[in-house]
C-alpha cells in the first residue's frame, strides 16, 4: 500500500527557528530519508517553496489565467511530503512517527487511492 506523509508549516514557524538549528534539522531529515530508502519503502521526498511562491492557474477562454497564492487560505501550508510504499497502514504510521519532528508537529498520513503507471 502506498501512503502520502505530509507536514505543514508557515513562514512564522520557519522564522522562529534559529539559523544554527537548520543544518541539524536538514541532516536529521536526510538520515530519515536514507533509512527508508534503504528499506525499499521510500519512493520520494519533496519539500515545497514558501506559500508566497504558489500560483493559482485557471483556464479562461482557452488561455491560462494566473493569480497569486494558494487556493486554500489557511495559517499553515503543506511544507513537505513523502511518498512511501509499505506493508500496511500500521507500518505507515510507524514510519510517520519516526519523522525527525513528529514530537513537535503532527504528520498527516493519507492512503493513496489511485495512481497511474509512470510508463
Amino acid at each position: 500500500m502506498k501512503y502520502l506523509l505530509m507536514i505543514y508549516g508557515s513562514q512564522e514557524k520557519w522564522e522562529s527557528m534559529p539559523a544554527e538549528a537548520w543544518p541539524d534539522a536538514i541532516a536529521r531529515h536526510e538520515a530519515f530519508n536514507a533509512k527508508y530508502r534503504e528499506t525499499g519503502e521510500l519512493l520520494g521526498a519533496y519539500g515545497l517553496a514558501d506559500a508566497v511562491n504558489a500560483k493559482l492557474v485557471r483556464r479562461a477562454d482557452g488561455l491560462p489565467a494566473v493569480t497569486d497564492g494558494p487556493y486554500l487560505e489557511t495559517k499553515e501550508y503543506l511544507a513537505s511530503f513523502w511518498l512511501v510504499d509499505c506493508e500496511n497502514e500500521e507500518r505507515a504510521l510507524q514510519i510517520a512517527a519516526d519523522m525527525p519532528f513528529a514530537d513537535v508537529d503532527p504528520v498527516e498520513v493519507w492512503p493513496i487511492l489511485h495512481e497511474s503507471a509512470a510508463e
Binding site: M1, T39, G40, L42, E87, L113, H114, E115, A118
Partner: protein, 413 residues
C-alpha cells in the same frame, strides 16, 4: 518463440539457482548470476540455437559468472569464494532431487525474517524468474526502490543465518502455510489490484497460478497446495466478467456467466473434487469448494446457498476471520433472510477496530438493501465508499448508493 523461450527459462530458473546455492552457498551472488545467465540465454539461444541441455548450459553460464565475480572480488578485496569445494561437491549433487532444491528455494524466499512485500518481491524474482524491472512495474514503484527491496531481503536472509535446506519437520507446516499465503497475495495483487484503476493486472495473477501449478508438481500429495491452485483457477475463471469495459466493478449477481472461463472452472472443479475426499481439509480447499459452488450455478438465485453456508460454517470453525464472518453472513441472509444475516454481523460491528472496516459497512448495506431499507442501505454504501482505498470499489459503492437514493425519493408503495 521469444515468449516460449522466456517461459522455459523461467521454469528452469529455480532449478538452476537451487543447484548453484547448494554448490557455492551465497544465495545473493548465486541469484544475481542466475538472472545474468538467463539474460545471456535470451540473446544467445535464438542466434546460436538451443543447447542440448538448457539446464546444464544455464548452470555452467551462471557458474562462470560467479567465478568471474569471485576473481574480481579477490583482486579487489583479497576475499575468497569456496569455489574449489563447491566444484568437488558437485560430483555428489545428483543425489539431491531437484524437487528438494526448488522447495528449499521457495521456503528461503518466504522466510519469516522478511516482511510481506520483501517475501513477494524475492519470490517473484528468485523463484518466478521475473526481472526487477518487471516486478517494479507490476507494483508501480521505481525500479531502484524494488532493487533496494530485493537486495535488502537478500541481506536479511544472509544475516539471519537462514540456511538453504528444507525446514525442520516441526516447522514445515507453518512455513508451508506462509509460502501458500505469499502465493495467494501475489494472486490477489493481480486479481484485485490494490492500486490503480484496473481491476486486473493479469500478469501477477497468471504468475501466481503458474507458481501454484509448479508447487503442486513438487508436492502432489499436499491437499492445501491443491486447494490453493483450485481456488485461484476458480476465481480467475470469472475475471473477464468481473469488470465492465469501462473498468466498473460488476458484482457476482450481475456478472455475465457466459463470459466465465469454462475450462478453468472444469479444471478447478476436478481438482477440488478429487482433493476434498482425502480428508485433510484446510482453508484453501474450503474457499475453493465455495468458489466451485458459485462457478457451477447458472444464476445467483439458483446457487446452492445452503451448501455455501455449510462450507462457511466449517471455514469459520477452522480458520475464523472477520472476512469469513462477513461472507458467512451473506450466505446466511440468502438462506434464512437478511435479518439473520444482519444479526450475524452484530458481533463484528461491536468491535471498535472493525466498526469502520469498509467491507463490513458494504456488507451491512447490502443486507439492508435486501431487507428493503433503501435509505439506511444508501447511507451505508456511502459510508463504505468513503472508507475503501480501492478506486473501482469506491466507484461501485458510490453507484450503489446513487441507485438506492433514486428509489428512496420515489413514493412508498
Amino acid at each position: 518463440m521469444e515468449e516460449n523461450l522466456g517461459t522455459l527459462l523461467r521454469e528452469l530458473a529455480p532449478q538452476v539457482l537451487g543447484v548453484l546455492v547448494r554448490r557455492y552457498g551465497q544465495f545473493d551472488a548465486c541469484e544475481d548470476a542466475t538472472q545474468e545467465a538467463m539474460l545471456q540465454a535470451l540473446t544467445q539461444w535464438p542466434a546460436d540455437g538451443m543447447p542440448a541441455s538448457p539446464r546444464a548450459w544455464l548452470i555452467t553460464a551462471a557458474s562462470r559468472r560467479l567465478i568471474d565475480q569471485a576473481r574480481s572480488e579477490q583482486a579487489r578485496r583479497r576475499r575468497e569464494f569456496d569455489l574449489a569445494a563447491g566444484a568437488a561437491a558437485s560430483a555428489a549433487e545428483e543425489d539431491v532431487p531437484a524437487v528438494d532444491d526448488s522447495l528449499a528455494l521457495l521456503f528461503l524466499c518466504c522466510h519469516p525474517v522478511l516482511s510481506g512485500p520483501s517475501q513477494i518481491a524475492l519470490t517473484l524474482r528468485a523463484v518466478g524468474g521475473l526481472t526487477t524491472a518487471q516486478i517494479a512495474a507490476a507494483f508501480l514503484v521505481p525500479e531502484a526502490t524494488m532493487a533496494q527491496r530485493i537486495s535488502r531481503a537478500k541481506a536479511a536472509i544472509a544475516s539471519s543465518g537462514a540456511r538453504f535446506v528444507m525446514p525442520e519437520p516441526a516447522d514445515r507446516d507453518a512455513r508451508l502455510t506462509m509460502v501458500l499465503h505469499i502465493l495467494y497475495l501475489i494472486f490477489n495483487e493481480g486479481y484485485a489490484a490494490t492500486a490503480g484503476p484496473d481491476l486486473t493486472a493479469p500478469r501477477l495473477s497468471a504468475e501466481a497460478i503458474r507458481l501454484a501449478r509448479w508447487l503442486r508438481r513438487l508436492l502432489p500429495g499436499d491437499c492445501e497446495v491443491a486447494g490453493l491452485l483450485a481456488l485461484m483457477l476458480l476465481t480467475d475463471a470469472r475475471r473477464a466478467a468481473r469488470a465492465a469495459p469501462d473498468g466498473r466493478l460488476v458484482p457476482l449477481d450481475e456478472q455475465d456467466r457466459a463470459a466465465w472461463d469454462r475450462d478453468l472452472i472444469a479444471e478447478g472443479v476436478a481438482l477440488i473434487s478429487e482433493t476434498l475426499p482425502k480428508g485433510h481439509v484446510g482453508p484453501y480447499q474450503l474457499q475453493a469448494a465455495i468458489a466451485a459452488v458459485h462457478d457451477e450455478a447458472p444464476t445467483m438465485d439458483a446457487t446452492d446457498w445452503p451448501q455455501i453456508l455449510g462450507l462457511y460454517d466449517l471455514l469459520d470453525r477452522i480458520a475464523p476471520s472477520p472476512l469469513v464472518t462477513l461472507n458467512r453472513a451473506v450466505a446466511l441472509a440468502m438462506v434464512a433472510g437478511p435479518a439473520a444475516g444482519l444479526e450475524a454481523l452484530g458481533q463484528l460491528a461491536a468491535d471498535p477496530r472493525l466498526a469502520t472496516y469498509h467491507r463490513l459497512l458494504a456488507t451491512r448495506a447490502h443486507l439492508l438493501e435486501m431487507s428493503g431499507d433503501a435509505a439506511a442501505a444508501a447511507a451505508g454504501y456511502r459510508d463504505a465508499a468513503r472508507r475503501t482505498t480501492s478506486l473501482p470499489e469506491r466507484r461501485y459503492l458510490t453507484d450503489r448508493a446513487h441507485r438506492l437514493s433514486g428509489k428512496e425519493s420515489s413514493p412508498p408503495m
